[in-house]
């Protein structure tokens, strides 16, 4: 059985470029600070969080009913509703709609769901040109990479990288790094694609059961332009995106961008309820493992996620390891609790890619207990026998020692003595001791506390 690289192994690659790591960390910390300013300036923010959490808990507890209500309302609005059990079904449905429309050119606005389903390769393999219209998404599409963040998909790239990419693919001048000129080049390039597209695919930030409408939030207006121009709109949504009523929506639009970027609201918050005259609107509702997660009591709250990315921006591990180190569509702390649901073995290292500092839980606008779930996944993975043998057996041994005071005392004496006697080069050999790659071991004292204490008591007893 081949083992996929662990998060630590992938991180080590990212860490090799220390300057880029610093830049990545500082850039995302800047976003976290913007989030803080917006949150501090909203006195009722903690109440909003609680309200959002309660609405999501309630919706998930009656998800089937709300999905049916949504479908009925959407159908009544003239929207065609499709159900996909998994990624393959989703891709087949989308391709079917594109083909039925006789189309070969598609523009897509940002959607983590279509990334999750690997829609682009499927469409391309079937002769459909698909262009990502979000600027960050387009950059990484040209580079053949996956997004490294849910809100800032190209945050791992510097403007020099973008200049290089545009020079290679869009014919801009070599060495161009001016953001305004690069953006203008992308604008001109994308405009042609917008005008030529016959089908527009969008993600869905929120779907409202009461009205049967979907809500798409973008800062670039790319979804609106694409949907406005194309004859067919396909909105792809995970089945957890539902909210019961239109009046619930305001709670989430207030939380989403404050948490994501520190903005009070996205530049465009667009509601799509029915197709324009002569046009088609489709909604594809995707399960792809979500009902399985819903059935795991310890992890169901992860489905409350609204994909703001706040947990990534605050995570000290994510900031220094980059999104690609997670090797999953949704990276960072939330990705680390969603991914084992899909494949425990492949993603076994992700719940361990955390210090459990809890900052992710404290920034989460819908109060997902992220770090508690990370801790719980570790136990599930341990119970499933998926931990490396070295860890499994060392922990069993440690348990025996720590449950027996005599053994613990003797072990401590031996460890301290060993550390004093063994040459530094050996006790700190990086090949054997990962602690010592960057750190000195504690200097071993002659006496443990318990030895000191026993001596004190015997002296005072005399």
């Amino acid at each position: 059985m081949s083992q996929s690289p662990t998060h630590a192994q992938r991180s080590d690659v990212f860490l090799l470029d220390a300057e880029r790591t610093t830049w990545h960390d500082e850039t995302l910390w800047f976003v976290r600070q913007k989030r803080d300013k917006a949150v501090y300036a909203t006195p009722e923010f903690q109440e909003l969080r609680q309200l959002a959490s309660d609405i999501k808990d309630h919706t998930l507890s009656q998800l089937a009913e709300y999905l049916e209500q949504f479908e009925a309302a959407a159908l009544a609005n003239g929207v065609r509703v499709h159900w996909a059990a998994d990624a393959d079904e989703h891709n087949a449905i989308v391709l079917g709609i594109v083909r039925a429309a006789g189309a070969s050119r598609v523009v897509k606005s940002k959607s983590m769901l279509t990334e999750e389903c690997h829609l682009n390769p499927h469409l391309l393999a079937n002769g459909v040109e698909v262009i990502d219209s979000d600027l960050g998404e387009r950059i990484i599409q040209l580079r053949g990479e996956a997004p490294s963040h849910v809100v800032l998909p190209a945050i791992h790239l510097k403007k020099e990288d973008v200049g290089e990419t545009f020079w290679q693919h869009l014919g801009t001048e070599k060495g161009l790094t001016d953001p305004q000129q690069l953006t203008e080049a992308a604008r001109q390039h994308l405009r042609e694609k917008f005008l030529a597209a016959e089908v527009a695919i969008s993600g869905v930030n929120f779907a409202v059961a009461e009205t049967g409408s979907v809500v798409v939030c973008t800062n670039e207006g790319n979804a609106d332009l694409a949907i406005g121009l194309a004859r067919v709109h396909i909105a792809c949504m995970g089945m957890e995106k539902l909210l019961p009523r239109l009046s619930d929506l305001a709670v989430f639009t207030r939380l989403l961008t404050r948490s994501a970027t520190g903005q009070p609201i996205t530049t465009y918050t667009s509601h799509f309820t029915r197709p324009a005259p002569g046009k088609e609107m489709h909604v594809v509702i995707v399960n792809n493992g979500r009902s399985q997660q819903l059935g795991r009591p310890d992890f169901r709250a992860s489905l409350k996620c609204i994909r703001c990315g706040a947990c990534m921006n605050t995570c000290p591990v994510y900031r220094r390891s980059g999104g690609h180190s997670y090797d999953f569509t949704i990276p960072g702390p939330i990705g680390a609790i969603l991914s084992p649901n899909i494949d425990m073995r492949q993603h076994v290292s992700l719940p361990f890619a955390s210090t459990l500092c809890g900052s992710c839980t404290d920034v989460c606008p819908v109060k997902i207990d992220i770090h508690t779930q990370l801790y719980k996944w570790r136990q599930v993975l341990g119970a499933e026998g998926m931990l490396p043998a070295s860890k499994k057996y060392s922990m069993k041994l440690l348990s025996r020692v720590l449950a027996r005071p005599g053994l613990f005392k003797a072990g401590g004496v031996a460890a301290r003595l060993g550390l004093r006697l063994v040459p530094h080069a050996l006790s700190h050999a990086p090949g054997y001791n990962p602690w010592a790659i960057a750190r000195e071991l504690p200097a071993p004292p002659k006496q443990s506390f318990r030895e000191w204490y026993a001596h004190q008591s015997s002296v005072s007893a005399k």
Binding site: S11, R320, K391, A403, R404, W435, P442, E451
Partner: protein
Amino acid sequence: MKVALFVPCYVDQFYPQVAIASLQLLEKLGVRAVFPAQQTCCGQPMANSGCEQDAKPVYHHFVETFQDYDYVVGPAGSCVYHVRKHFDIIDQTPAVQHVRTATVELFDFITSILGVTELPGRFPHQVGLHLSCHGQRGLHQANESEMTPVRDGQLRRLLAGLEGLTLTELDRNDECCGFGGTFCVSEAGISARMGQDRVADHLRHGTQVLTGGDMSCLMHLEGLVRRRQLPLQVRHAAEIFNQAFA
């Protein structure tokens, strides 16, 4: 009031001076704490590694050791948090429930239980406080920057009360140092990088003595400081107060 001193396994073996300082500090405050010699560890290393089942015998041993005390006081927020939060997987007998609520972090005990809000003494140095995540976000001993810009907390207030002491203002008040238990070994690269960044924040703002309420974070940071021979002393807050409170 029967008080037991809970000395985390690695403190017992590698930082006895922290346990001695805790004991002496409590004595100066009129609390005579005893050290039950059969104690070992809270079981966190196994549990954080995904081997909670292996930790159960250690949990039971912990409860047996400490069940007869009114308070179990430890100079380590992380271990205390573990007892309070994660001993939920064993049978919740009255003894288990008692030990979970009676186990208290040293400075929580001093401020919340003893009601001491100021400690006497002089410590004329610039001190940088490392807020440990489990004490701060787990035990709520300080404000979280995720919630409020107000920088306050038990330890910060106590330190600020010492004569001659200047507190360092950091760029990142409460970012994790990267220790994280077995994380420091299984993700050694990221762990080291996080710690180096924390230390750099302190050095940049003039910290001479780096302190905190949790020796595990400090052990990691001290290891990084000594490797690079940086001009920084690392000491547990109990040591500072015990020295200042002459």
